[in-house]
Amino acid sequence: MTQATRMTQRAERRREKSGGEPAAPGPVLDLRSVSVRYLTSSGLNTAVTEVTATVEPGEFVSVVGPSGCGKSTLLHVAAGLIRPSAGQVTYLGQEWTGLHPDVGYVTQKDTLLPWRTVADNIALPLQLKGMRKAERRAIAADMAASLGLEDYLKHFPNQLSGGMRQRVQLGRTLVIRPKLLLMDEPFGALDAYLRLRMQELLLSILREHPVSTVFVTHDLGEAITLSDRVLALSGSPGQLVLDCAIQTSAERGDPMAVRSTPEFSDYQSRLWDAISAPGGQK
């Protein structure tokens, strides 16, 4: 079996698994010539300019680039939190009308509620949707179990390590079965070992709960390990300099195996060249 067909099949499987609904025709997210400009005290500041990209159903797309190239801005656009100054955003076939529904958002920062237990933190979005207590408890317990948190349901966030807190945040995000998962350097604050572990966990949890994902990181290795496709942004204002599908000979659920393939270093140098090309980063 060639890698390409394996990849397509995996995407197919994810599509089938994502709740019996008919697969939405076309991409989950479609950005066309998107530019974002801010008005700041030092004048007009362009964060990203003319970015065109799509996220297909079930696809894992990473966005890499140096600091200040507008990665997070692009993620805010994807969430519908900000409206682009120019260009077009289509989410699930609909043009921008405000905050996109069914979007999961994970940041590096800990936004768990300190006065809620692990179970209640995971169940929070279900509670906000008005789900009954018994039902949301059960769903939260299932989610915690698939994140390896089953023994910590009654713990409070300040009793957990950083990696565990990040797992709880992931659980809280996935529990509503989002149609688009947005992650802004979620593992940025973790040490190297824990980061690899979390990458592994993320891939395995996404096999269980498939969802189209946009993952922002400045770690090229992390992007290659996790993604079906990597978008490289560069410069200020940020421009899309490379849109690169990732295929390696290794099993993708295993970050260390992917890292030891020859393709890995090829991709790494391609991405590195792209983001550090002249005209890009000053």
């Binding site: 529904p101 509620l113 906000l128 910590y152 713990h155």
Partner: protein, 286 residues
């Protein structure tokens, strides 16, 4: 100390149960020393007071522990202390309750609106700076010299402390949490209930600890202004008769009430904190 550690090292490492018992034992012993020192200090003060009274200063100026004790026994016997304590407590608690309610509600409401906070902040700061005792005579005109006047004075003291704590706390709520709720599609009310109210609870308790002694001051000062009962009245009345022992009894009674109430608030606060996941001194689970 060193010897103990050396001995422990030469022996086999203790099992968990022994270690736990040893830690508990040392903690108890330390606690006992702390209390011993406290008792010694108190005893030293009382003895010095008793011995010097009548020698360095005349006994009718200084009184003495023995005389204070006599007065306590006398006033407990004829019910004078209890009835006046009851009056002061009633005034204090009514003012404390109303002041807390009004202060917390106003602090939350105004704090939730950035615009209202910005508009009102100079007025709030000005009101905070007013010496509220000065309003006492005004309250006599408005409410007479009964319970209402003293409770209002106590409540006025409390209102500002609670209001200020909650108001500034609300403005310091982590906006990333609010953003997170918004992305989850939470309504305004869900955000208030889910973030602001739980956060407000901890500021509330901190302010209550400050507010209760102040409520006591409000009530007793109200009694100084005009009254025929209460511990403030007991103190002024005793002073007018040059009965310093009586004044000391009133002061000590007020102090005991304040300390007991503080302990009670701390106890409730601990219970609430446990529910809110703020376990003090707990070990991290890795």
């Amino acid at each position: 100390m060193t010897a103990q550690i050396t001995v422990a090292q030469t022996q086999a490492p203790p099992d968990a149960e022994t270690a736990r018992r040893e830690i508990a034992r040392r903690r108890r012993r330390r606690r006992a020393y702390v209390w011993l020192c406290r008792v010694v200090i108190l005893a030293a003060v009382l003895i010095t007071w008793q011995v010097t009274s009548g020698h360095w200063f005349p006994a009718f100026v200084m009184s003495s522990p023995a005389q204070v004790w006599d007065r306590v026994r006398e006033w407990l016997g004829n019910g004078y202390l209890q009835s006046n304590l009851g009056v002061t407590l009633e005034e204090t608690f009514i003012g404390f309750a109303f002041g807390t309610l009004v202060g917390a509600a106003a602090g939350l409401l105004i704090g939730l609106s950035r615009f209202a906070s910005e508009v009102l902040s100079p007025f709030i700061n000005a009101l905070y700076a007013v010496p509220k005792i000065m309003l006492g005579p005004l309250f006599v005109v408005w409410f007479g010299i009964d319970l209402t006047m003293k409770s209002t004075l106590a409540g006025l003291f409390v209102v500002f402390i609670v209001f200020y704590n909650i108001w500034s706390g609300v403005q310091e709520v982590d906006q990333d949490l609010v953003e997170m709720f918004r992305v989850m599609g939470a309504s305004r009310w869900a955000i208030i209930r889910g973030i602001y109210l739980p956060s407000a609870l901890s500021w509330l308790f901190n302010s209550l600890r400050l507010a209760f002694p102040v409520a006591l001051i409000g009530a007793t000062v109200g009694e100084f202004i005009a009254s025929s009962a209460g511990l403030g009245f007991v103190a002024t009345n005793a002073a007018n008769q040059a009965d310093t022992s009586g004044v000391f009894v009133a002061v000590i009674a007020v102090t005991i009430v304040a300390v007991l109430m503080d302990q009670l608030i701390v106890l409730v606060q601990r219970m609430v904190n446990r529910r809110l996941g703020k376990n003090e001194g707990g070990r991290l689970v890795i």
